[in-house]
Subunit: 490 residues, 2 copies
């Protein structure tokens, strides 16, 4: 049985949920495979309406969903209400992507060299397995971005629920299934399963064609390995760990150090720091003592919150113990501990660039929670090679004074490094807060993701679930509908 | 030392070439990493001109290149001269892709929800390792499609030469390097290495960001495993094995059985059958004895040719021995054996759909060479589920009578199966002969490729070497040049 817990009390939240038996996992995948032709063949407009029906149905139950999720996650009503809205916004974004139609990636080349004309269009890859995340019980969970984008692409989806919010997952799935059925979607187009064993069985099922995952580096790597070692390997789109370096340049530190300090503490402690975009590393000019003091003060004044689970809390405590014991690191600030047995304490540590560079294996690793490491750098020349050696990250941020030519010159160099090491570059802002739109790229080199060319947020997320097929010399009557009119003209 | 051989005689061709020492492999990768910023920053027009300079230089030496390659491959002057043209055509195609500019995949989203505007553009993934193929000494080798598309994307390339044509590889590399240098490309943007150990070292090098491969399923899987198990895993774009099913429908068999028979034998024996697009499986209506006889006659009248190497020849002989020994298979035709010690004999085998379905593990596997398996099917109803169970293929072909409604109805069903199982669907044609253009998709589900969303032929091949970066809130002066004008307007 899978039991959710209330992070504010550590006590069980709601009734336990049964792990999905093996036979039911097989049945869910079989139903997904059977739904594939009908769901894939649905006109864009019809699939768009089905996604909107799910969005409408979730919106209608926002209060209930947010209240249930608050029981299981303690993320609070404001955040959770907003997250339901973000989730339904994602579903509607993909409805728009379908109506726009460019996602089909149509190309046409005339006959030549003895070969008839060729038309290309993308098709859904097949039934998709989605592994839900703990830290976004809606937006990266049952009906989150992976599910929305895969359904939009024409792929049936089987979601493996996260153990942290089983009841929220069940209610979301139930609402979505009813809405999909009412909108005329084929049965089997969406299913939810529970349990680690069920998830592994899902991933190994021969009818699963691709998988999406958001979570830890260790967990993601284990699943990636399974995908690579299947008899038929499948693409694995994993969003794993990130520490998201933030670089403050001297001009900005002088110009608005206080704002930067409070901005950093806010981004660091948002959601108890349980974001893949959490700014774990803050690089500040060594000469600017005022900024260091301001950041320490801001973290001291900040508040923690209950972490999502005992496991995440233990992991955070272990990470704190490791960095506290590090001889080259000093602990410079601690905020107010969050409520409950798993309440996180915001922490700020400090070290020098030299010490940091000497042990990036420990110091540059992700500490999932509100723990920041402030690194003082003596000069841009010394900073740049250290930045370049960091692993891949979802986000890199630079703070500079737009009127300071020295800041701008260094910013250009920092951006040049980030272009090869992060998925998103932020100017005078913070990594947390991921816009869901057409230009978004929520990705980055490993370990940020296992598929650096793809994004798990925004319109382009649909591309992960599409594979092209070229049609050579087919008469209009045999071509897919989207290609036929052009073939008629030819 | 690596020694090329003349397949017409089995005797050494040219001088042996030294395996690249480990230190030189490291130096080549280091030079590629150093060349990356300058090559990536080059304007599209300048990179286009560099590719055209390579194309011009290769074209100028076509005769010499083809003659040298003929010594090492025995593919013949006509084919090899044409292949140099295809290779330089590919380089010019990518010059056109650069000038077109859409490959940058630019997207812009306005500010919203407290988040500033976001612009996205793609950047080169980094230094790329390319593993050359044996069967196309130019078009899938040193300056072949993988290299051309990666260079176009802004990625420096280190090619591991195929052992089958070391001298051709060296001459190609020498011409390309001179042309690149004359065109102002940074030193290190392109290098060639020799030897299996050198290739493995290349693939494991931390500065290599992605790899392309065309070759056998076993070889490709081994390299894919290395990529997945690196400390930092990298994307591996492998084009592996394919048997490329051809389905002849009853109307077409009646209407033009003789044409189909000669067409099939021609496609099967082209280049001694050493193509990844070779039509290994021919499904014909059981009731049409005339077609079976015509195909057998056409194969009997066909001629083999020297295979590329002793190893490929032995592999072909072993595959023939296996299928000849199969109790459910009969040998129905043999053509004229090709010249030399490694001369292939075109062969045609036959079985029934039922027997085929009972042992696809042996019968549906790739036999690299001019060996076809003719499978008689009693009805479309029985054929479709067997087709659906085949592994992924680069190509699937259907022959039907466009005026025959029964053929068209069955063709629709076959195409629906192929949409999920092949990368390219051909109507009334043959899988061999791959157009290099914007709509081409040379890919397909595993084992055809390890990355089913990507193509290794045609304009879209450039996408394999690009990764997006999102820019959030950057002033125009800090944005990449291609994004800056739009930012000025906003």
């Amino acid at each position: 049985m899978i039991q959710g817990f209330n992070p504010r009390t550590g006590k069980p939240a709601g009734e336990p949920v049964a792990e999905t038996p093996g036979a039911d996992v097989d049945a869910a995948v079989a139903a997904a495979a059977e739904a594939l032709p009908a769901w894939a063949a649905l006109a864009d407009e019809d699939r768009a309406r089905a996604l909107e029906a799910v969005a409408d149905a979730l919106d209608e139950r926002t209060k209930e969903l947010a209240a249930l999720a608050d029981e299981e996650t303690a993320l609070g009503d404001t955040r959770l209400t907003g997250e339901v809205g973000r989730t339904t916004g994602q579903l509607r974004l993909f409805a728009g992507v379908l109506r726009d139609g460019r996602y089909h990636d149509v190309a046409e080349s005339p006959a030549g060299g003895g070969i008839p004309e060729i038309e290309r269009i993308s098709h859904p890859v097949g039934p998709v397995a989605v592994f839900a995340a703990s830290n976004f019980p809606f937006a990266f969970s049952v009906m989150g971005g992976d599910t929305a984008s895969a359904l939009a692409a024409g792929c049936p989806v089987v979601v493996k629920a996260h153990e942290g919010h089983p009841s929220t997952s069940d209610l979301t799935a139930q609402i979505a299934q009813q809405a999909l059925a009412s909108a005329g979607a084929p049965a089997g187009v969406f299913a939810l399963i529970h349990g680690v064993d069920a998830g592994l069985q899902l991933l190994k099922h021969p009818d699963i064609a691709a998988a999406g995952f958001t979570g830890s580096t260790a967990g993601g790597l284990a699943l990636a390995k399974i995908c690579a070692e299947r008899e038929v390997p499948i693409p694995f789109f994993g969003e794993l760990g990130a520490v998201n370096p933030v670089v403050v340049l001297p001009g900005a530190a002088t110009q608005r150090g206080a704002d930067i300090a409070t901005g950093y503490a806010g981004s660091l402690t948002l959601g108890a720091g349980q974001f893949c975009t959490n700014p774990g590393l803050l690089f500040v000019p060594a000469q600017d003592e005022a900024l260091r003091g301001a950041v320490a003060d801001a973290v001291t004044e900040s508040s923690g919150a209950p972490m999502l689970s005992e496991r995440i809390y233990s992991g955070y405590e272990a990470a704190l113990a490791e960095i506290e014991a590090h001889p080259a690191v000093t602990s410079v600030a601690a905020g107010t501990t969050g409520e409950g047995p798993w309440g996180a304490t915001p922490r700020l540590f400090a070290t020098t660039l030299e010490e940091f560079a000497a042990d990036t294996e420990v110091l540059a690793k992700e500490r999932f929670g509100p723990a920041g490491l402030l690194i003082t750098y003596p000069s841009a020349e010394e900073l740049l090679p250290v930045l370049a050696q960091l692993g891949g990250n979802l986000v890199g941020a630079v703070h500079g004074d737009p009127g300071d030519q020295a800041d701008l010159a260094t910013a250009r160099q920092v951006i040049a490094v980030f272009q090869r090491t992060v998925g998103r570059i932020v100017w005078n802002g913070w990594p947390t807060g991921v816009a869901v739109n057409a230009a978004q790229h929520h990705g980055g080199p490993y370990p940020a993701t296992t598929a650096p060319a793809t994004t798990s947020v925004g319109s382009a997320a649909i591309r992960r679930w599409l594979v092209p097929v070229a049609y050579q010399g087919l008469p209009a009557e045999l071509l897919p509908a989207q290609l036929a009119p052009a073939a008629d003209e030819g």
